[in-house]
């Protein structure tokens, strides 16, 4: 067991973890931050994406001990303290960018990382960036649309009926 300390959503937390503790287990089980999900065991689905020191990372494919000292943001840390949703979260709701909601936390965290690197992405940029985030419900249409909307683009003409 080793002691790890990290800042999660602005709060300093610490815990004793065994060497094989994954970051996602530390978040979900030790910190009870169950917004981060696990959808696969081969590091592909992206439901577990969180930000580690500002970078998108699959928390199911990083040991908790590797995050010692890191600054972590999870989906629970995206909204304002008063509950006002982050503009990306709001864009997902406005554009119906989620259905069952299971992949959604990872999608939002990946979208946030994308828009930080590339504030004005094209449709192709968004689709390429989401390579590591699988959604089974939406067919991606409204996810891509939501992210473009969150970037401030006019999405009203997309696949107009």
């Amino acid at each position: 067991m080793a002691k790890v300390t990290m800042t999660v959503n602005g709060r300093k937390v610490s815990g004793e973890v065994p060497g094989n503790r994954l970051l996602v287990e530390f978040l979900r089980e030790d910190q009870r931050l169950t917004g981060t999900h696990v959808g696969c065991d081969t590091s592909q689905c992206g439901a577990c994406v969180v930000h580690v020191n500002g970078k998108a990372v699959k928390s199911c494919t990083m040991m908790a001990s590797e995050a010692d000292g890191a600054d972590i943001t999870t989906i629970e840390g995206m909204a304002e303290a008063d509950g006002t949703m982050h503009p990306i979260q709001q864009a997902f709701q406005d554009n119906h960018g989620l259905q069952c909601g299971f992949c959604t936390p990872g999608m939002v965290m990946s979208a946030a990382a994308l828009l930080k690197d590339n504030p004005n992405p094209t449709e192709a940029d968004v689709r390429h960036y989401l390579e590591g985030n699988i959604c089974r419900c939406t067919g991606y249409h409204n996810i891509v649309k939501a992210i473009l909307a969150a970037a401030g683009q006019d999405v009203s003409k997309i696949a107009a009926e």
Partner: protein, 261 residues
């Protein structure tokens, strides 16, 4: 996962010492190793993380050679290896963004997955694999599926790429894993052209020497007309027969040359 200890040394020397323990295993990003551990396909007594060693991180130029620390994530190579655009482009298409933030060049080269991208770049560039104890030419380093010249406990601390006059990497992805079904890296140097192929062969990454000879004489797609790779020894699986992979090598090589020239 089985139970194991975890250590995160700060220097190469500490890492080498930590890896001297029985059944200790290096963790260099973990994007392949951690899924393997979840399946209980490996049973290390200890994982030694190489990602907190400053001397193993970063991208720099030394003369005409691009040097990349072994623990440098793909995303950093993609952003900083502008002196070698084909290599930066390759790095920017490995896995997905989250994987690129963790996965490292040293981890990829050490694992030598037959469908990984980096081995083709290293082999086509005639790169030098630098370890804690020696320098190994790429031609000597890659020794078949998941096989390398690395000794037990030896770690890749840096990879040095001579920057070519022109180069390009073409990856045809396996639709599920998005690893290379076939990837071809073509690099043109003053003394000739090198072509390395990943994803295709049962023997792992390899050089297509016939193509190299033809392209060294005439660096254009048409130089490859009439050349083909035998399907013997190519991988056959759900996603491609040996014949299909052999065919794709020709197509991807032509496209790489066209894009590079």
């Amino acid at each position: 996962m089985y139970a194991f200890d975890f250590e995160q040394p700060k220097t190469i020397a500490e890492a080498v010492a930590a890896l001297a323990d029985d059944e200790a295993q290096p963790l260099s990003g973990g994007q392949t190793l951690i899924p393997t551990l979840k399946q209980r396909l490996a049973m290390p007594s200890k994982l030694v993380s190489l990602t907190a060693i400053p001397e193993m991180k970063g991208v720099c130029m030394n003369g005409n050679t691009l040097c990349i620390g072994g623990a440098t994530p793909h995303a950093v190579v993609a952003a900083e290896a502008s002196a070698y655009p084909a290599l930066a482009a390759l790095a920017s298409n490995i896995g997905d963004p989250a994987v690129r933030n963790r996965g490292t060049i040293g981890g990829s080269i050490a694992n030598n997955d037959p469908a990984a991208c980096y081995p083709s770049a290293a082999l086509a560039s005639g790169a030098t694999i630098v370890t804690n104890s020696r320098e190994i030419a790429a031609d000597d380093y890659f020794q078949g599926l998941f096989q390398t010249a690395l000794e037990e406990g030896e770690i890749v601390t840096e990879v040095r790429f001579p920057v070519p006059q022109a180069a390009n990497y073409q990856k045809f992805v396996q639709p599920a894993s998005r690893f290379a079904l076939v990837g071809v890296f073509v690099a043109k140097y003053a003394d000739g052209v090198r072509v390395a192929v990943t994803g295709a062969s049962n023997d792992g990454v390899f050089r297509w020497t016939e193509a190299e000879a033809a392209l060294s004489a005439n660096f254009s797609p048409s130089a490859l007309d009439g050349l083909s790779v035998s399907a013997d020894g190519m991988i056959g699986d759900l996603h491609g027969t040996p014949e299909y992979r052999a065919h794709l090598i020709g197509v991807m090589t032509k496209r790489a040359v066209a894009a590079a020239s």
